[in-house]
Symmetry: D2
Subunit: 344 residues, 4 copies
């Protein structure tokens, strides 16, 4: 199912950028998990647009309404569904898209895939706006993992190849009506060893499956990643040693994952984000109706660089993948205890 | 399910390196698909060990026995299962592994995951040997895709960072009882546009899920990949144009995938393979039983570089992911026709 | 995933009887399927409460709001989500349930399952009210099947064992503050042969999986069902014959399904619905808090017989199961045609 | 996937009646589960043919060969695969089936489904012989459940409507070259409360999904089942009471399942098995090649009544469904303990 993720839990993302609402359902979340709504909103605000001059002028409160599955800040054990209404919509900006696909966007591929039935306004279901429901779910998983002592933190490594002054790169791109991409690094600390399954349910498989669900991601590497392909085995292997009673490795080239399973060392991976395809410059494209090549300029509001807003999305995707693999471990509280009631 | 892949079809890989047999089941493959067993064996031979002085001395014929699902070289529509018997086994080589995890291997992670119940001989279920059944399935998908005009071809880009003389790098590593990794590039030609689904069933999600199922893979990138993170949008966007009646892009930085869906341009991705963790050099590790840090040297037979043998595995994984997404499109022949019978 | 159904499509039902809203998401529905909203509402009205003196006094408009996935009465190909707000709620009626489980209801089982975190008001996620979103999805599938010439029709066979005057039985039960169950028969006409898969994806497996998702269903039988267990093979076997060019059977004891696959004959199955567990009479139960046995009388509004309202639910469940198995057959329109645009 | 079962574990059944071998893979089974092979074989013998004059003369040892996943009678945590070679095959008996479908069998439906590519010899993948691998998996689950204090026992209630002398009915049918069906009742004792999930993952949904995977099953009912449809709510509701500290119901009309979740009372269900479609009597059918109606007599060896052999299959199916739902509860032993090693 296209917009679903999960083996032990199921996260279903729905909605279009310019439809009535976007949202997410989480099925299989155990009962009794606490969700701090204030912290969740704080997390969502990190992704929300219109917070700085670097992001799209579109202003959305991104305040999810929880329809079910959470009561008094605690999960019920039944499906959790939250929706976010779309408000600040200017679809006319996108009217030309009906006829002219935007370079670097999913417009044309989606047109072939859905035969023109898709809602392409603002990118429709392919819009970066769909990362809002991802962050609603991810924010819940991040809290659940923190309760287990596991933290997931991502940060910008570079923007447009610039590691020293990333923001400067964004400024320059903006001034030139252009856009830039960048690289995000994510580190998971407190990961217990022994999490993950072989072959297709390894941590690398599942994290990459989740991360490529974020629009504009074009690459992912774990530990030393592509650099490891240039090392000798004697350089890349991480020696085991006892740190007191705990087995650790002296280096972490494996990025905390061996054979798809966590080693107990921090999980480390990096994600390549391409430059925002929507730019102010004139570009070459085609017209479906006349069948001719044309010049076009993308209308609508867009970020010169989505990397800053992608950071919490990477955390959300990683938390979702890790929580899903751990769900079997984090056992739900089932036993109904008489004394609990008596103490009420 | 750990060792399973697929949404429309299901590929289940089973077995341990030193068990009775390894194998694969394919469920959901439509009826009436032709399988050329000779070509399949030829494909498997590209992966098989003992073919050159660069690969492990272990000799396995890797001749699959098909137990069901294929009759007279044509799929029946019911599950296909093939097994490969393990023959040339020297488990004593691995006896020390019971106590000392090999650096860079899954031994320790699997020990925690399975509490010591796992069959770790030769890496057990985590061994590269499990790529043989992957290639049995992948070889079938490659033939099915070729029947649709789709070809999947991978090649070595570099070994140990050397693009000019990859084999020389392997020689050097061998001489030093060391190992090297490398980078493989895979290109899919003849891909129709409109294949793939949004968010979590995009081609990038599904191909990476499959490719990380190959041991030693630590990174993947599509199109310009990590390099795209350093480009401007105006450089990275691929302009659309009409080539006769066909819509193409003048460049292919997107690697044939936009929004997870094929654009009709060739799919291009690169895979980072780490150096074989098994090396002849002495390494640092620990003993489970005594709880002390020790020196160890890996026994057993192993490749100084698994990249050459990983090339067909990457093709198999890509074919599996693509065929799975296309299965809905490549419609099985259901209609029973009287005339067919009459012409028999 | 508990509240999800489907192999080729995915139907996710969410919400609690007394929460903010209930709803459904459908993922994997092809693009270009027409949905007549007026007909859909007409179908939902068959299930809605408060239509007659035989049903609960609770009045709900049951008007779904479609948040995404359908535009201009045609599916977009991306997830479809519809919600129904809960309005006429009187939760105080259920306050005692916190402490006293209602006989015949899921209250106690759910209490153990969710450790008291569940929202048990009005049965919460286990309420018959959750069949409203089922009917929203099912109504769409019924229309899609009708477009293929397949009709699904259910009817009441008997109520409280009475085949002649079912409504009379409901009257009697009402007068005695009691409830009655009944048997529903469902017939699927126009079913093409060759639909269904072996062993666990047969029509019987999938239809029963879906039908047991309707609260109060306690049994299902196909064709002659339990009666067939009392026949000889020579009586129960259905002879094949040619009706012109079409292969048919002279009788239909097999109920249109052989080996889990449709034979082309009408699919026939019957469903046993237990009497509504909520009755006005005093019953024996227990108190969680004091641990003592008590007498209790169920408060709240309820139907003396839910069988009439279950009829469209059975049609919805059957349509969902059948459409899901046929989804691979009913091929989505993918090819984007230039002329279509020109003719617009 | 057609021949797969499971949400938390995955059971894949493969093979054809007259192919090289049949078998089963179990993925997701936790590590450290003991399997007593002698007891497993004893269980398989209950299903095996050729044990009495009432069963087909076909003799098969039904001795599974375990290829992987179990070592020293303990599960490794990785996929378990077992195969059973087909030996006593007389395919010529079935040569006519290529042209004439047997009434009551899947021959014709499968022919349409697979376009004539299916292996129909002896029923191929649709043969009752495929219940052998089901029993291999089910036998393992039965042992795993017993370790949790849960027993699953099925018995014959009636044969051909005869509850007093079932075997006499089989004799009579045999004498008349005919066949009979029957009803099997299954009881699960020691079931903890709180197992099962709402709507589509309830115990009724999952057990029926599994049980309809047994050829010839045409109906299933839980607790009072169809009889409940004729009772008043006041008769059918089961009153709760405290038996010491344990909550029980005074009656068990609900068959141990409320809202799809176990109540802690014994799970009780009944299964309707149709008479063996293969009979010695002449029957009406058609010829594909000539398109004419013909008389035919089924060749080959078959049981006059498969009900006795279906009894262990029902236990296997129920154990599979229940174990799958409990898998999240029966937590695998993950923690690697140093002391365990020291004590070795």
């Amino acid at each position: 199912m296209a917009s679903e993720f999960g083996k032990n839990i199921r996260v279903s993302i729905f909605g279009e950028s310019h439809g009535a609402a976007i949202g997410v359902s989480i099925d299989g979340m155990p009962a009794g998990v606490s969700v701090d709504m204030e912290r969740l909103q704080h997390f969502l605000d990190r992704r929300a647009p219109g917070r700085s001059r670097f992001t799209t002028a579109r202003r959305e409160e991104d305040r999810p309404e929880f329809l079910c599955g959470i009561r008094g800040g605690v999960t019920c054990g039944t499906p959790i569904t939250a929706i976010i209404r779309n408000r600040d919509i200017r679809s006319r900006d996108y009217s030309q898209m009906e006829n002219i696909p935007r370079p670097g966007h999913a417009d044309y591929a989606a047109r072939v895939r859905y035969g023109g039935n898709e809602d392409c306004r603002g990118g429709g279901h392919f819009s970066g706006r769909l990362t809002a429901p991802l962050c609603v779910a991810g924010g819940i998983f991040l809290q659940a993992l923190e309760a287990e002592g596991i933290t997931v933190r991502a940060r910008i490594l570079e923007i447009g190849g610039n590691t020293k002054d990333p923001r400067g790169e964004i400024e320059k791109a903006m001034a030139e009506k252009d856009s830039v991409g960048g690289i995000i690094e994510c580190v998971v600390n407190g990961m217990p060893p022994g999490i993950g399954d072989p072959i297709y349910d390894g941590l690398e498989n599942r994290i990459s499956l989740a991360v490529f669900g974020i629009p504009a991601v074009k690459g992912i590497e774990f530990g030393r990643g592509f650099e490891a392909a240039r090392l000798r085995g004697s350089e890349n292997n991480d020696a085991f040693y006892f740190d007191g009673g705990t087995i650790k490795t002296r280096t972490n080239n494996h990025g905390g994952i061996l054979g798809g399973i966590s080693s107990g060392m921090p999980i480390v991976f990096r994600v390549a984000v391409k430059p925002t395809p929507s730019i102010g410059k004139e570009q070459d494209s085609i017209r479906y109706d006349t069948g001719e090549n044309v010049k076009m300029t993308v209308q609508g509001r867009h970020d010169p660089c989505i990397v800053p807003r992608a950071v919490p999305c990477v955390e959300a995707a990683a938390a979702m993948a890790i929580y899903d693999l751990m769900a079997g471990e984090i056992r739900p509280e089932r036993e109904y205890r008489m004394e609990d009631r008596n103490n009420e």
